[in-house]
């Protein structure tokens, strides 16, 4: 293999590049990104960077400059021609490849209706955080955050820490609901203590503006929240539009890959392409499954591990490639709480609080499906999680027919 193109310069793409070089790949490596930025790490953006405890220099991904790569920045990939083995770029250039790593990541999901021209933001990249911080520094003392998932809750925590009055609107009733009821409750309580106003169980009907600038949010229950600033945090959309003609399988817009991270063809055959591997937020991997099928992961640890293995498998070829064997894990901090998870919480049918004291802001909640452990979430009980990770590994080996070896 002499030419490898990596599409995406986030964590998954950079880790793929590092892994290629670590495996001794000495050929030409090209990394394509639609952003002009140097590669950066995403978890600190909504927390330390927004809060001001880290600088932009602190969030750069170390090591990216040592890849010996040709960087194509600020130019989007617009097509993948697998027959001719070319990545097409927005400026008309074509990059030939022997192998390609697809790590395009995701974009913030936009509000589906009309929004005022100014004062309504989404947050996904470094530039978004700069814009949000500029609004706060420019005098915005109030914000309405729409959506209480990870990004919404992290922003609520950071912005309230900056002295901004935060209202958090969540139509589905609970913050971080994917993590289970007890954890959700602990987070809601901590948010309330920090002065965040929670509007749970009601959605947004629309926005009011004055001369193009947002002035209020209208809720479905009829109430009106005056505000100079809104952040819409309603999830992410995989950045895969450009692959529509590639012939790859794109269920729900994600790139479907087999257990070894080779992209599957669409149109029913599902045959993996030995020259195309996938990593990160845009991937939907057969090796990450709940009871009813593959689950997409949008976590740091998944992007890192998939980037590394995808590159290794691309060089090794399908016959020698290793399956993706990773216990999902996630962490965040919000309102002073350290929240961590292993496995796939939220895919179970029963949760059990197994340690801690929820009233005191600490809990370990295990998630079960048909009596088997599928995940665990910790608030301030992080020392317990590795034991749950070990149990999850054991469950998976039993499920796949191999007995745990105990090592």
């Amino acid at each position: 293999m002499r030419e490898v193109v990596v599409v995406g310069a986030g964590l998954a793409g950079v880790r793929a590049g590092e892994s290629l070089r670590a495996q001794g790949f000495a050929g030409r490596l090209t990394v394509v990104s639609d952003e002009r930025e140097l590669p950066y790490d995403r978890p600190p953006l909504t927390k330390q960077l927004l809060s001001g405890t880290m600088t932009e220099a602190d969030v750069r991904l170390a090591g990216a400059e040592d890849l010996g790569a040709r960087w194509v920045r600020g130019t989007a990939a617009v097509g993948l021609d697998r027959e001719r083995r070319r990545v097409r770029l927005a400026d008309g250039a074509e990059l030939p490849y022997d192998g390609v790593v697809l790590a395009p990541g995701a974009k913030a999901r936009a509000w589906s209706g009309a929004v005022p021209r100014a004062g309504v933001l989404t947050v996904r990249g470094l530039d978004d955080v700069r814009r949000l911080r500029a609004e706060v520094d420019g005098g915005a003392r109030e914000v309405v955050i729409v959506g209480a998932g990870f990004v919404g809750v992290e922003l609520a925590s950071s912005l309230s820490g900056l002295g901004v009055r935060v209202t958090l609107v969540e139509p589905f009733g609970r913050p971080l609901r994917a993590l289970g009821g007890t954890v959700s409750g602990v987070v809601a309580e901590a948010a309330g203590r920090a002065g965040v106003v929670l509007r749970l169980g009601t959605g947004v009907r629309g926005f009011r503006d004055d001369g193009g600038r947002v002035v209020a949010v209208e809720l479905v229950d009829g109430s009106v929240l005056p505000t100079p600033l809104v952040v819409v945090a309603i999830g992410m959309v995989p950045a895969t539009d450009w692959l529509a003609e590639s012939g790859l399988a794109l269920p729900s817009g994600r790139i479907h890959c087999d257990e070894r991270l080779f992209a599957r063809s669409g149109g029913g055959s599902g045959a993996p392409d030995p020259r195309v591997v996938v990593a990160g937020d845009a991937a939907c991997c057969d090796a990450v499954r709940a009871a009813d099928g593959p689950v997409a992961l949008e976590h740091w640890s998944n992007a890192a591990a998939q980037g590394e293995l995808a590159a290794r498998n691309l060089l090794a070829g399908p016959a020698a490639a290793e399956p993706y064997d990773h216990v999902p894990s996630f962490w965040t901090t919000a309102f002073g709480l350290r929240i961590k998870s292993v496995g796939l919480p939220g895919t179970g049918d029963r949760t059990v609080a197994e340690a801690g004291d929820p009233a005191g802001g600490a809990v370990l909640e295990a998630h079960y499906r048909d009596g088997r452990l599928v995940g665990a979430v910790s608030v301030e009980q992080g020392r317990l999680l590795s034991a749950y990770a070990r149990r999850l590994r054991g469950e998976r080996m039993i499920a796949s027919g191999t007995e745990p070896s105990g090592t």
Partner: protein, 63 residues
């Protein structure tokens, strides 16, 4: 093998403890504790634990 943890960088995120629990663990305060003597013979896992650290607080020399 010499394992060094930069406790100024370490945030107690615990990703290393998921990868190599025999070497890395969190205490009750979610601070990292390391058992370097347990790393003998598991250089691969320790290296993977270092790569799993989001803040690159772990460095490993030798094997």
């Amino acid at each position: 093998m010499k394992i060094t943890v930069d406790h100024g960088l370490c945030d107690g995120l615990g990703q290393c403890a998921l990868v190599a629990p025999e070497v890395f663990a969190l205490d009750d305060e979610e601070r990292l504790v390391v058992a370097p003597e347990a790393a003998r013979g598991s250089a691969g896992k320790v290296a993977a634990a270092a790569r799993a650290c989001p803040v690159r607080a772990i460095s490993v020399e030798g094997s």
